[in-house]
């Protein structure tokens, strides 16, 4: 059997690489327009950095065999937050940074073995803004980026938003084990689990009604106001949606506010969101992000600056969704094959190649001698070239 890559590892062919580069380039252009500066965080980090803020479980990290506890980064945020709080701690806030690169996550495969999931990500982080202004900027930037990727209404894209503060409001009257159980059941969308809880049936029905809250954001916000009053997170959401709704409508993105949407891990402490496309057979998450002030605090930021929020695009997921990227970018239609006959030599061909390269023309050497021009021409399709240079004197 031929040698195979490790389970889950990316092993891309040229066209996939070109598409990834094009997507990353377009995103970088938007980030730069908004004043974000590029950083390049390390692929290898200490485990205490990677697990800071509760963003990832220990078992999900690909560990390295070393004297100190090291692992491959499962995402970019923790490393950038560490950098923002150490080498960049004297920089003025707000601090706007972006990065792209591969991430590695360890998973248990269906068969029981370990599966290392390698992904290319590109995203931004905004540090030092404690109020909703950060979310207003980030989500506007997210939608703007989407436009540059030519992801439009045909992809039936939805921006799913939740807020951990809303979950706190939902759980405000519960404590201890029952609070944890309710939270887990709400996050898991486990209605039967809620019904099985030993609490008053009216309370169960109330929790289920929040779990099932769907519809236009303004309606949901009004329902939340009726239930919990004019709390700050609800006011912030109202402001956020007022800003986002016209942009989303213009870009063909549906906004979905879900009061109980949040991941299991503890990284986020405020707004949390996912951008989801309708894939061929199932929904595909192409970007995710949120606010992670606690992570920034755990990296050593002083309390007045302990604020961070960001998002990250999954480039590999986007690549599979976009079919509209200009084919000229993906296929080089101006390749010249330099061939030589019995009266010439490879050395002559290389001289000729240098001339073409000087003029910016992609020139590929045919290393073996061809007997005739016809024989040389017959090689064009196999060498993926459109033009020929024939040397035979």
């Amino acid at each position: 059997m031929a040698l195979q890559p490790a389970a889950g590892a990316r092993d891309l062919i040229p066209q996939q690489v070109k598409k990834n580069q094009e997507i990353t380039k377009r995103l970088a252009e938007v980030y730069k327009l908004w004043g974000y500066e590029e950083v390049s965080p390390p692929r290898i980090e200490r485990l205490d950095t990677l697990t800071a803020g509760g963003g990832i479980a220990n078992e999900d990290i690909v560990r390295l065999v070393a004297d100190e506890p090291l692992g491959l980064r499962p995402e970019l945020t923790a490393s950038i937050a560490r950098s923002a709080c150490t080498r960049l701690k004297t920089r003025e806030r707000p601090l706007r940074l972006w990065a792209s690169g591969t991430t590695f996550e360890s998973r248990v495969a269906a068969g029981g073995g370990i599966y290392i999931e390698e992904n290319l990500q590109s995203g931004v982080e905004l540090f030092g803004v404690k109020n909703i202004s950060a979310e207003l900027e980030l989500l506007s930037l997210l939608l703007e980026s989407l436009f540059k990727l030519e992801i439009d209404s045909s992809h039936k894209t939805k921006l799913l938003l939740g807020n951990t503060c809303l979950m706190d409001l939902v759980l405000e009257n519960y404590e201890g084990k029952i609070r944890n159980k309710i939270k887990h059941n709400l996050i898991d969308y486990n209605k039967i689990g809620l019904e099985d809880l030993e609490i008053d049936i009216e309370k169960v029905n109330g929790l289920i009604s929040i779990l099932e809250m769907r519809g236009p954001a303004s309606e949901i916000i009004n329902k939340l106001k009726e239930k919990y009053g004019e709390e700050e997170p609800i006011r912030d959401l109202a402001r956020l949606f007022k800003q986002l709704e016209p942009i989303a409508e213009e870009k063909g993105v549906i906004l979905q506010l879900d009061p109980t949407f949040q991941p299991h891990f503890e990284l986020y402490n405020g707004l949390v969101f996912q951008l989801v496309c309708e894939g061929k057979s199932s929904p595909v998450v192409i970007a995710r992000g949120g606010r992670y002030d606690k992570l920034v605090a755990s990296c050593g930021a002083k309390s007045s600056e302990a604020a961070g929020a960001g998002f990250s695009f999954s480039i590999d997921a986007i690549r599979e969704q976009i079919t509209t990227i200009n084919k000229d970018i993906l296929v080089d239609n101006n390749r010249t094959l330099i061939t030589y006959g019995p009266q010439s030599s490879l050395e002559d061909a290389m001289v000729n190649q240098r001339e073409l390269h000087k003029n910016g023309i992609t020139a590929v050497l045919e290393l073996d001698c061809c007997n005739t021009l016809e024989e040389a021409r017959s090689l064009l399709p196999a060498r993926n070239c459109q033009h020929i240079k024939w040397l035979n004197n």
């Binding site: 799913l160 898991d188 039967i192 769907r214």
Partner: protein, 208 residues
């Protein structure tokens, strides 16, 4: 279009009947001559995937099916990230520990440490014996588990018991139940969160 994963076998007829209450008629899957594995509903707005019991939570967890019907025993064994929506009530059975009729063991805690337990549901069995702090050696079998104590490969088995007839016919007796299992409506969590009412309508109709 809504895609539902239906388990072939004992739960199929009742699953089709419950989806019919939600206006989705998949009765074509019950046709003995049907060999199709992806069957559209009569109204054309949904389709059913006919899959093996253990594959229902897999199709739902990966989002290829937004909804599915499967027994709680399968959900507990596979632990896939699916939303548990409605206890449909049918397909009732027990997950039980069973031993030979003449066995001296009268409850699970009586079993000797490090004894062999045969089961198709090794995750359920492991959780159960862990909760008793009783170390056991699990032997994974894929069927005819009742043969375990008869042949001597295991002192006891952990298996589903519906009427108890198979146990009796093979000279076995149930000594303790792990849990009671019924059919559950499950859903793909992200699809449910992105839903604008279509899936919710089906779930609500099947609840009643």
């Amino acid at each position: 279009m809504i895609t539902v994963a239906l388990a072939k076998g004992a739960l199929l007829k009742d699953s089709v009947a419950r989806f019919a209450t939600a206006g989705l008629d998949f009765s074509d899957v019950l046709d003995p001559d049907n060999r199709q594995l992806m069957v559209p509903s009569k109204c054309g707005s949904a389709r059913a995937l006919l899959v093996r019991n253990g594959d229902v939570p897999v199709y739902v967890a990966y989002g290829q099916a937004q909804l599915g019907v499967v027994g709680y025993d399968v959900l507990k064994e596979h632990q896939m990230p699916v939303a548990h929506l409605v206890d449909l009530g049918f397909g009732g059975c027990r997950m039980s520990v069973a031993v030979k009729e003449e066995s001296i063991y009268k409850c699970a805690a009586d079993l000797p440490p490090h004894c062999r337990i045969a089961s198709k549901f090794t995750n359920c069995a492991r959780d159960f014996f862990d909760s008793l702090d009783l170390p056991v050696e699990l032997v994974h079998l894929t069927g005819s588990v009742e043969l375990g104590p008869i042949t001597g490969i295991a002192e006891a088995i952990v298996d589903l018991v519906a009427t108890g007839r198979t146990l009796r016919d093979n000279g076995l007796v149930s000594i303790e139940d792990l849990f009671h299992s019924t059919a559950r409506l499950v859903g793909h969590p992200l699809s449910l969160r992105l839903d604008r009412g279509l899936l919710q309508e089906v779930v609500d109709s099947m609840r009643t």
